[in-house]
Symmetry: C2
Subunit: 395 residues, 2 copies
């Protein structure tokens, strides 16, 4: 589980942590690749959800949803994990086979769970059409499921009146209070549980609060002040399995504890040092911080390779960016998936362009984005970029 242990994860939401990796400090940082959810009142008596990005759309009659809720709602609470019985009932209702892992199946189950649970607790949801578009690649270990769950929790809680509508007339964007964010996060975590079974909760916390979070021994603490850092996010498109990777790391640690445990200690120390640097940057935004972060990127990347979560495609990514004097590390669970490249303020646009071209020539996909981005935010329709408005209006 390189992604959760590594410094500067560039993620909205990492995955499950095994006990063997728990005691160390880890940082998770919010990416500025946003997931957008639009909720509109709809024709009476229907609720629809569509994710055009995965070519998916479903709708249900509200009476059917209410009947289902009546059957399984007894235990719905943000303090309780979804029960096996509830999930079985949801699967049966939605016609999803047990063990189905397609994104649309998991998105459907998570929506149904959150919709029924939130409406059971806070009051009925209206007839509505929900549309979700995301800039995040899916299944690349970047926490797209948590971003979905956070948006969905915020939208459903707001539409039920459990949290306020914070947007004032004329404001482009607004965020919720700390208390409301805590509620959004709790329900998003339940959504993540529907999708992942046993998530760490870091991904949804990053999606909710944004910025950067410290994770240690199960405790998640948002960092006080976090700078926004420019990065290049690169998807190697090499498929990977978080479960297999985590099992491999565990096996290595059990096989060679004297060799591997110090590596975990060093990774924990990188996270701690990285936190110190990140917290110092807003107050003293000197360029001298960047070479230190770059050194941490390099060391961390080597350590993640030692843990066995590297991949030749990620080595290639690091090598290509190094040839443009840029430093990269894997993000997410590793074993393929994505890498991030730090773009210090003095990086010339030409160098970024050249690096992107070389990465694309390897068959990779690149996005120029930021880490330390804000968490879940309510936007006025007019504040969205033309591109996002276009994406949302296509459906």
């Amino acid at each position: 589980m390189g992604k959760v242990r590594g410094a500067l994860l560039g993620k909205r939401c990492p995955g499950p942590l095994t006990p063997v990796l728990r005691p160390q400090v880890a940082l998770a940082v919010a990416l500025d690749l946003r997931t957008f959810l639009r909720l509109r009142p709809s024709a009476e008596g229907r609720v629809s959800v569509s994710l055009p990005g995965v070519g998916f759309g479903r709708s249900w009659d509200t009476p059917d949803l209410q009947a289902l809720r009546g059957r399984i709602a007894a235990d719905f609470d943000e303090s309780k994990s979804p029960s096996v019985e509830q999930l079985d009932a949801l699967r049966e209702f939605a016609g999803i086979a047990a063990g189905a892992s397609a994104p649309e199946s998991l998105a459907t189950l998570a929506f149904l769970y959150m919709c029924l649970a939130i409406s059971a607790k806070y009051g009925d949801v209206p007839s509505m059409d929900i549309l979700v578009c995301s800039e995040l690649p899916m299944g690349a270990g970047l926490g797209s499921s948590a971003a979905y769950a956070v948006c969905m929790a915020a939208a459903l809680l707001m539409v039920c009146g459990a949290i306020s509508c914070p947007l004032q007339e004329g404001e482009p964007t607004a965020r919720w209070t700390e208390e409301e964010l805590t509620l959004i996060n709790s329900w998003a975590f339940r959504g993540e549980q529907v999708i992942h079974g046993n998530p760490s909760g870091v991904d949804n916390a990053v999606g909710t609060w944004g910025g950067a979070l410290r994770y240690q021994a199960g405790k998640i603490t948002p960092l006080k002040r976090v700078p926004t850092l420019r990065i290049l996010l690169t998807n190697t498109k090499v498929p990977r399995s978080t479960k297999v990777l985590v099992a491999g790391v565990k096996e290595k640690i059990l096989k060679f504890p004297a060799i591997m445990n110090p590596v975990l200690d060093s990774i924990g120390a990188i996270s701690q040092e990285c936190q110190n640097v990140l917290e110092a940057m807003p107050e003293n935004p000197s360029p001298e911080h960047y070479p230190v972060l770059e050194e941490f990127f390099d060391i961390n990347q080597h350590h993640l390779n030692v843990l066995g979560v590297g991949h030749p495609s990620l080595d290639r990514l690091c090598q290509v960016t190094a040839s443009h004097s840029l430093h990269s590390k894997l993000t997410g669970a590793g074993g393929g998936g994505c890498g991030i490249t730090l773009l210090p303020p003095d990086t010339s646009p030409l160098a970024v362009e050249a690096a992107k071209q070389d990465l694309c020539a390897c068959g990779f996909e690149c996005w120029e984005t930021k880490i330390g981005a804000p968490g879940v935010t309510l936007h006025s329709a007019s504040s969205l970029s033309a591109q996002v408005q276009h994406a949302l209006s296509r459906c």
Copy 2:
């Protein structure tokens, strides 16, 4: 000083260790690239030394050497380091400027020191011609100076009668007793001090005893049983400075102790585990040991990169051999110089040939050789290969 800390160094002799790196276990392993020294009686009254490999030859009148010895011989002893005054006198005698670092200057000074010191202690040396040829590349961090010093000490001690001539009639090769090897090693260390100033003594110990040595907190212990392992030795030909590299490692440790010290611990643990595997191999020569050694190679190489003693040329070397399913690590001080690639018994000759070709295409130079080779050995002239005989007879 990656080379001394790393497991499986593939060296006859590493260089100086700074105190900051001392407490950890390190292994040094003898390469089977031999240095040959031929000593022949010569015309009365002259002593000559030639190293045709570096295009170097010098000779002196024995009365001049005896006169010099008379002036500076008071303190010559294998238990004492060469004094500044002795070295100044030798430089003046040989016409070598203070601070001269050319191989021929250092070889001359080391010969003069050992010749005068050994003859002062054990009895005059005869008139003789000494010829030294080496299969080891020079200045590549592989301990060619220690191999030279070991051969020279053995030859001079034998010709003075301080140690026996162990070769029996009809035997191809012979080695000295443990006590005699200890004496050879002590004098070779003095020669190394003339050349390097402050060597660790590991290089000359490996050259003397061969096999593999464990080094910890200044203590050198030969491993009991060591297998002979096939390797590919590759010289990237990238020049490096051990001093600059060691200083860089030290600076990194002082700057980020919590990150770097665990890496040193892990490297120490690799050396220890590697020793366990090497000592288990002669008794149980199962192929299952090789993947473990390969894993240690990989981890060690990452750690050495973290310490800052890697180089893009060494990354390239590792990558090229990885494309042939072979595992490599840097050897010597790093920062360029050489790497070794393990060749497990089941490696096909075609794979080795293909790897060699790819490495040569990078501009590197390759030798197929062995580690865990014997230390200093006395050969009958007829036991030498035609190639070595030819090399020695050309002069």
